[in-house]
Symmetry: C2
Subunit: 235 residues, 2 copies
């Protein structure tokens, strides 16, 4: 039986404040819990509806329709990072949980092991990020950091820093290396001026519309197109 105190504690993990305090977050659904159990993350507890009952499950779940299983997972400790040759993704103030989760899923698909996120980006243990990443948060390492400083670190190691802009160079005709940092910006404001100043290359996705068209693409779809093009070039 779950006590009221336990229920309250699990439920509190929907808020970043309590995720920080307890160093834990929640994953829901059979597939996601399976991913957590098979990952390097430590799963602190698993709750099944068949064991705790539907009422208790509906009280600890963050979903409007609770799934049959929920796990409380420990947030991993931050680790020192050695930059190796390869492609990295940098997210500058990405605020929408769905976009963040979708881009982690993209990084996972395109073999990018580490994502750098500015300190004001949405937290990856936010329930909506966890959900939209479809398990990729367990495979892709996300480092919250001072993004301009990380850019300078790439410069020092002579790796290029690419930024996605509306007024950059046509990315299909640009030179794209198989290593370096690719930066995507905020949903409304794009890449901040401090990070923009560190971009060695400014890339754009050209529009193919004849007349008036959308002003921009959603940041996650732009990220998809750019990562695909980098990987295609390496074939």
């Amino acid at each position: 039986m779950l006590t009221n105190a336990e229920i309250k504690r699990i439920k509190s993990l929907k808020d970043k404040k309590f995720r920080d305090q307890y160093g834990q977050f929640v994953v829901e659904g059979e597939k996601m819990v399976e991913e957590a159990l098979g990952s390097a993350f430590n799963v602190a507890a698993v709750y099944k509806e068949s064991e705790i009952g539907a009422e208790a499950m509906s009280r600890i779940s963050q979903l409007s329709t609770p799934s049959p299983v929920l796990a409380v997972v420990d947030k991993p400790a931050p680790h020192a990072l050695a930059l190796e040759r390869g492609l990295y993704l940098g997210l500058d103030s990405v605020r929408d949980p769905g976009n963040m989760g979708t881009m982690l899923r993209l990084a996972d698909w395109f073999g990018i092991s580490t994502v750098f996120a500015s300190m004001d980006s949405v937290e990856i243990y936010n329930p909506k990020v966890v959900q939209s990443s479809m398990g990729s948060i367990f495979r892709v390492s996300t480092v919250y950091c001072d993004l301009p400083e990380i850019c300078r670190r790439f410069h020092r190691d002579s790796f290029p820093v690419y930024g996605s802009f509306l007024d950059g160079q046509d990315m299909y005709s640009a030179t794209l290396a198989g290593e370096g940092l690719i930066i995507m910006g905020n949903e409304s404001n794009g890449i901040s001026s401090l990070v923009s100043a560190e971009c060695s290359s400014r890339l754009s996705i050209p529009s193919y519309a004849d007349g008036p068209t959308a002003e921009s693409l959603n940041v996650a779809t732009a990220c998809a197109i750019i990562l695909s093009e980098f990987r295609r070039r390496q074939r």
Copy 2:
């Protein structure tokens, strides 16, 4: 002054049943209303907070934070369609409003003027589709149809029908024509068997992960990558 009956009628447009009954839908926000006014759609009425007051606006708005302007727009009448040479997008049972809106925005960006959607796809006048399309619903023509029948029409005109599958041919090495129909499937189940049977070419986006990775990509990001690759080939 808005009467209670008017308020009730506008508010009812959040439901498909009443959008069908009145033949109208709602757009909110200055940019979106501007897009509607500049489009071929007939704007039946515009409501400004400065004229009707904040309380009335909060009652007719479908947003948790109402914007200063809301328009009621007439749904255009369906029109007969002549297939011309070019690229078309087909959506087979896309149910998530955010995905639908994002793919309309992508079609707009990549110069695809007409999107075919199966009858069980989410309606484009759903408020979340309108919002996530960022105005592209006013430029891209969406036709709800019997999708297998549309595929056969492409066959009769000797245009290819491409489907996006998890087990198709590597799309980077596939032959891609500058005309035809590109089909994206349902979020959970992919392309239905009836539509699958009509695909003349099965395409996949290869993963670049070394080890275990995401099982799939989100349908809108997959659509972004595929449309980008078709247009790149036409350069």
